[in-house]
Symmetry: C2
Subunit: 140 residues, 2 copies
């Protein structure tokens, strides 16, 4: 575990994707769930919706945070978020998988640390110490 | 509509929140859904989970994208994402509402544009023109 942050979050812009695919909620769900799996995340639940006249929104809740997608099939564009916690899950593996599946000709990404450990410590005046990510399981 | 991007995304770090609240999935769901409402978003579906030994993850899918939260009650910390499209919804209203409800003593935010219109146009070699956000409704 990198002790500097609890999680990392990749904001992905997929340009010039397969237009038809970006309006196919079934396929998108399949790929987003599989992206979580290949990244070694544990899927808790997923929901996907198709919008009128077009576009798909979907979320895969994972034990280690979430993957989301919003598509604009008419522009070949999709906004994807890959937010993971802990060292066992690598969001970049999910990124590589989705880039290929959506046939994105151009991609842009920003990786942002979430839950900076030093800030949590400093802002609490040292109240919170030994700040580490703890593996969790879903409550029964 | 600001013609420069399809959506905007605020990444929020809430520090030194009410610890007990951050482990109360029912309250968190209530506040996240209400945050969507006060920002004039249209809620499509929401899912919230409590983790063992602690922590809550939740998503509110809105017609205009999503709100998400992941909490670390043991550190008083929550990572919140407020992603909205179109001009009718203001994610900063949701931010103000949640900041108060979670009693966050310290907050940090980053706002990132999603779906830069000029890039969509340029990367497609001008294939996609007149790029605007279109209000959508959920498919029946």
């Amino acid at each position: 575990m990198d002790s500097k942050r609890l999680g990392r979050h990749i904001l992905v812009e997929f340009y010039n994707c397969d237009n038809e695919l970006l309006n196919d909620a079934g396929k998108i769900k399949e790929y987003m769930v599989e992206a979580a799996n290949v990244a070694k995340a544990t899927v808790v639940e997923s929901i996907f919706h198709t919008f009128n006249p077009w576009g798909v929104s979907g979320v895969v809740v994972i034990q280690e945070s979430h993957l989301t997608i919003h598509t604009w099939p008419e522009y070949g564009y999709a906004a994807v978020d890959l937010f993971t916690c802990g060292e066992d899950v690598d969001p970049w593996i999910a990124f590589d998988y989705l880039k290929e599946k959506f046939k994105a000709e151009k991609t842009e990404t920003v990786e942002i640390n979430r839950g900076n450990v030093k800030k949590i410590y400093n802002y609490s005046q040292g109240k919170y110490k030994n700040i580490v990510f703890k593996p969790q399981s879903i409550e029964a």
